[in-house]
Symmetry: C2
Subunit: 454 residues, 2 copies
Amino acid sequence: MSDLVDLLREGLPEAAVVTDPEVTAAYRQDMAGFCSSGNPAVLVFPDTVDQVRHVMRTATALRVPVVPQGARTGLSGAANAVDGCILLSLVRMNRILEIDPVNRIAVVEPGVVNAALSQAVGVHGLTYPPDPSSWESCTIGGNIGTASGGLCCVKYGTTSEYVLGLDVVLADGELLRTGRRTAKGVAGYDLTRLLVGSEGSLGVVVGATLALRPSPPPQLALAAEFPSTAAACVAVCAVMEAGFTPSLMELMDTVSVRAVNSLAQMGLPDSTAALLLIAFDTLDPVADLAAAGEICTAYGATEVVPAADSAESELLLQARRLSLTAMDTLGTTMVDDVAVPRSELAAMIDGVAAIAERFDLTIGVVAHAGDGNTHPVVVFDASDPEETARARESFDAIMALGLELGGTITGEHGVGLLKREWLAREIGPVGVALQRRIKAAFDPLGLLNPGKVF
Amino acid sequence: MSDLVDLLREGLPEAAVVTDPEVTAAYRQDMAGFCSSGNPAVLVFPDTVDQVRHVMRTATALRVPVVPQGARTGLSGAANAVDGCILLSLVRMNRILEIDPVNRIAVVEPGVVNAALSQAVGVHGLTYPPDPSSWESCTIGGNIGTASGGLCCVKYGTTSEYVLGLDVVLADGELLRTGRRTAKGVAGYDLTRLLVGSEGSLGVVVGATLALRPSPPPQLALAAEFPSTAAACVAVCAVMEAGFTPSLMELMDTVSVRAVNSLAQMGLPDSTAALLLIAFDTLDPVADLAAAGEICTAYGATEVVPAADSAESELLLQARRLSLTAMDTLGTTMVDDVAVPRSELAAMIDGVAAIAERFDLTIGVVAHAGDGNTHPVVVFDASDPEETARARESFDAIMALGLELGGTITGEHGVGLLKREWLAREIGPVGVALQRRIKAAFDPLGLLNPGKVF
């Protein structure tokens, strides 16, 4: 171990190599529950691409596993330490290297915080759409690692759509450049998109060229109360089938509505079984909201409240933003992340309610409804081993239901440690075997984030 | 060889296995120039996934190379036969299996013609945006193989953005399913996007789940005449920088304008050095066109002609659509496909003019200007070996210029045979080595489309 630290120090500043166990322990985990973590040998904070290359060359020379980390806001355990590893934190590589308004691109280091990029490009009338809930603290490198989504995906897609090119340090320390600065390009295999969502298991992202978009007009939202989640889900499909493209379409079930209501006194009636939030950032959001509101009413909404302006919109959206915090007041929470075809959303949410009953647990659901991406939140008492075991079982039952409905075990949080046993159930043995061969093509010694994904 | 044919016939209908040399010779090539092709051993037209699996199992058993083909409208030689190969034509697998308006997806076989899909989804008020010039004959499988672009990319992106999942027969005959039917999903590596653009070298696409969009309003176009390509390119950047997102933004240089003018008597003045076409499919295209037209005038356009309606728009766009046909009347043509950052478009087009002068050739340029994707068209006398050699040299000089300007050797046509020597110059030795390892992970015997891409 001291060999490792000595070698690392040959290419890193003194302060960038941390062995104090109290500090390294604080970096052992991301925000996932139900996930173990190992004891890291050392924590490093490189500041340059060359320093990252030195870390990887050292790891390869000594056969030491490496776990890349951003802000550790992930929800799948992908950033958790493994025993004896180098924790490779990229947070100090946080420079925005270039914003190019003519070509609508930004070039950034991986540790740039999502919100910092949004703010910096906003000055140029541009936006970087991907907006995971943790956008005020999560890093672009972490977003790339998990192909992060967010509220805006229903209109603007996920991180995958915005990464044009990457600089990546490979397991052996070689520097790979993928992709391009151009709007289009098909020279060779699309390694950029293979790397996006690979959870640090194929290489260490040390730079990214990102596509930006013109800032849209401010979005305007409505809130619609429904007497059942089924009715709300039918309205979701009807709005989409009518050809609308909302900038946000979020659904909260009765558990999450009540939790928010009691935390923040939102004044929602107890009869609200589901709350649907729809926003438009079009040129005429008032007209679009009116039309979407009529669809909601036609499908059974008991009340439709359109916001008069951006400030009112934000108040409506607060209900959604507070939902996880509100459910945290009910007990320990574990957020699942199952996406189904939009048409199966009602079956999914009703199925989760049945699972909650079967396991005698509280499970609230918030969903990026336009994308069919549900976040069932399992609430349990972590001090009770039996209830904790039931919580884990219900968590797995939710994934099984998602697969039955033609969905995926993870819409945007990733596989990490949490869902690795489930991956094969979704993609099958041919897919797993091929993914393992691809992993070996990048990382023949298996040093990068071992034990994750597969 | 008769072993091969006998074995193929064990799993394919009699008529689906073709050995008549006159027929097989007709399938030897796609539409690329400067590309050789070999003598195929046999041509097969499977009708089902199982038949494709039988073809690949046979190929693996006998170690016979396989070249997958769609409509052979490609422009890089990727579909050209290699000696002794099985030509695997997917054109008979041309069923649209499902159109799902609620989830906005289509499930298709690879031989479905792009235009047939567009028409079929149009009935549901939906659109499949990718629109390569060959859209009336090219297949979705071919589009996936090359990650095809088209005129709409500046607003709607390329084929990569619309493929959610694939069914792929691997080299050994195993069936791989990638991706999903959901809007989002991050379970494992993104093999779907790795396969899109892989030119049949990693597997044989036998099915695709595609994302659709609501049909936009009909687009309305303007034509602007400029006294120099430089002025037109500055206008292109200014329109984009102002935050507009046109549905089409095409540029024609003086050579292509004159060729079209003399073919179709478009009545364009000889002083037109560049013609810029801009279209919007927004809710208020008249206003957007007026604003874009003002920008054109501000940057030197001598005349701006907005269309009054869709019919007039189509007439304006005819100039662009006729440009390759018009240049074909000047001699043998060879279409290049270099994309540069939009800000370098003027340097690229002026540089091509300098290359034309240096090699004493006619080279016209049409460009998907909004994307910085140029198609320089080299005109030469194919019966003159010396001029043909100069044409090839100028073609290469155009790629070198593209790379110098921070661009890519291929924006949308692919590498195939035509540009394989250039790939390493763009992606470097680390990238090439890694791509070869990925190829080996999929196809360890190197049977799928050998000699292409690398």
